[in-house]
C-alpha cells in the first residue's frame, strides 16, 4: 500500500490521523470536564438546600 493510499481514506473521513485522534481526545476531556462541572453544581445545590449538614 502506498503512502497516498494509506492517507487517502483517513483524510476523507477526517478521523484517523494522529492529530485528529489527539484533538478528539482533548474534545472528549473538555466534554467530560463540563459534564463533571454541571454534576458538581447540581450536587452542591442539593447539599446546600438541605442545610449542608452531615447526612
Amino acid at each position: 500500500m502506498t503512502e497516498q493510499q494509506s492517507q487517502g481514506p483517513a483524510r476523507k473521513h477526517g478521523g484517523d490521523t494522529d492529530l485528529h485522534r489527539r484533538q478528539r481526545g482533548k474534545n472528549l476531556a473538555v466534554l467530560a470536564t463540563l459534564v463533571a462541572f454541571i454534576v458538581i453544581i447540581y450536587v452542591v445545590a442539593m447539599v446546600r438546600m438541605s442545610g449542608g449538614t452531615f447526612p
Binding site: 492529530l19 481526545g25 482533548k26 462541572f37 458538581i40 453544581i41 452542591v44 446546600r48 449542608g52 452531615f54
Partner: protein, 301 residues
C-alpha cells in the same frame, strides 16, 4: 546563550499536537499534591464540620486553582523554562501546547475554581483562593521572580495560603491558628527552595533568574537557610500551644525541626551539593509529616 532555546517558529509548527496528558502536566501535579495535602490539613484541624461533598469540592477547588496558577506560570515563564534543564521538558517549551491555550486554560480554571469555592463553601475561602492565585501569578511570577533574590521569600506566601483556605472553607474566617499554619509554610519555603537553587544554580544562572545562590553566593545562601530553619522551629511547635496539635504533634515537630536544622548545618559545612539535595528531599518529607501528624491526631480523636 540561546542554543538550547526552541525557536518560536518551531514552537508554533508543533503547537497543538499535545495530548490530554500535556494539559495535565501544565497543572504541575506534584506541586499540587503538597498544596492539596496542606489544604486538607487546614480543613481537618479547623473547628467545625463540613458535609463530605462540600469538603471534596473545597479540595477540588484548591487543587484546580493551584494547577491553574501553575499553568499561567508556565505560560509566563516559557522563555526561561526553555533554557533550564529542569523545565525544558514542559509542554510549552516542547511545543506541545500553544502558549495562548495554556494561558486560557489557566485563566478559565482559576475563575471556575474561585467561583465554585464561593458558591459551594463561602466567599472568605474563595477570596483567599483568589488572593493566593493572584499572589503567585502577579507578585511572584511576573514581578519578583526575575527581579530580586528575595523572590521566593515574599513569593512563598502564595504557597502558604492552602491551610488557611482549608480552614476558612470550614469556619468562614481567618484565625490566629490558621495564620500560624500559613507562617509554617512561609518560613519553610526559603530553605526548601534555596536547597534546590544551590544544586540547580547553573540552570538559574543560565536563565538569568536572580536566585540567592546566583546573586549572593552559596555561602550566604546556606547561612540564610540555617536562619530560616531556626526561625521555623518555634513556629512549627506553636500549633500545640494553640490547641490544634497534640503531644504527638509537639514531639514530631521538635524532632523534625531539629533534623531540619541539622540538615541546614550539614549543608553549611559542606562544599559539595549532595547535602543540599538531601535537604531538599527532607524538606518535602518534613512538611508532609508535620501535616500528616496534625491530620492523624484529629482523625484519631
Amino acid at each position: 546563550m540561546t542554543d538550547s532555546v526552541i525557536a518560536p517558529e518551531i514552537m508554533d509548527s508543533q503547537a497543538g499536537s499535545g495530548t490530554v496528558r500535556d494539559y495535565v502536566a501544565l497543572l504541575k501535579p506534584r506541586v499540587m499534591s503538597l498544596v492539596v495535602f496542606s489544604g486538607v490539613a487546614g480543613m481537618v484541624v479547623a473547628p467545625g464540620h463540613l458535609h463530605p461533598v462540600l469538603a471534596l469540592v473545597a479540595v477540588l477547588c484548591i487543587a484546580l486553582a493551584s494547577g491553574a496558577a501553575g499553568a499561567i506560570n508556565m505560560w509566563y515563564d516559557r522563555d526561561i523554562d526553555a533554557m533550564m534543564d529542569r523545565t525544558a521538558q514542559r509542554p510549552i517549551p516542547q511545543g506541545l501546547v500553544p502558549a495562548d491555550e495554556a494561558l486560557a486554560f489557566g485563566v478559565i480554571l482559576t475563575i471556575a475554581s474561585v467561583t465554585l469555592m464561593g458558591l459551594a463553601l463561602n466567599w472568605v475561602a474563595a477570596g483567599l483562593l483568589a488572593l493566593a492565585s493572584g499572589f503567585y501569578i502577579f507578585i511572584y511570577t511576573m514581578w519578583l521572580k526575575r527581579r530580586t533574590p528575595q523572590n521566593i521569600v515574599i513569593g512563598g506566601a502564595a504557597g502558604a495560603f492552602p491551610p488557611m483556605i482549608g480552614w476558612a472553607a470550614v469556619t468562614g474566617d481567618v484565625s490566629v491558628a490558621s495564620i500560624v499554619l500559613f507562617a509554617l509554610i512561609f518560613f519553610w519555603t526559603p530553605p526548601h527552595f534555596w536547597a534546590l537553587a544551590i544544586f540547580r544554580k547553573l540552570d538559574y544562572q543560565h536563565a538569568g533568574v536572580p536566585m540567592l545562590p546566583v546573586v549572593a553566593g552559596e555561602r550566604e545562601t546556606k547561612k540564610q537557610m540555617l536562619i530560616y530553619t531556626l526561625l521555623l522551629l518555634p513556629i512549627a511547635i506553636s500549633p500545640y500551644f494553640l490547641g490544634i496539635g497534640g503531644l504527638t504533634y509537639l514531639a514530631g515537630s521538635i524532632i523534625l525541626g531539629v533534623a531540619f536544622v541539622a540538615f541546614a548545618v550539614q549543608v553549611l559545612r559542606s562544599d559539595d551539593h549532595k547535602p543540599a539535595k538531601r535537604m531538599f528531599a527532607f524538606s518535602i518529607l518534613y512538611l508532609f509529616l508535620l501535616f500528616a501528624i496534625l491530620i492523624g491526631e484529629h482523625l484519631a480523636v
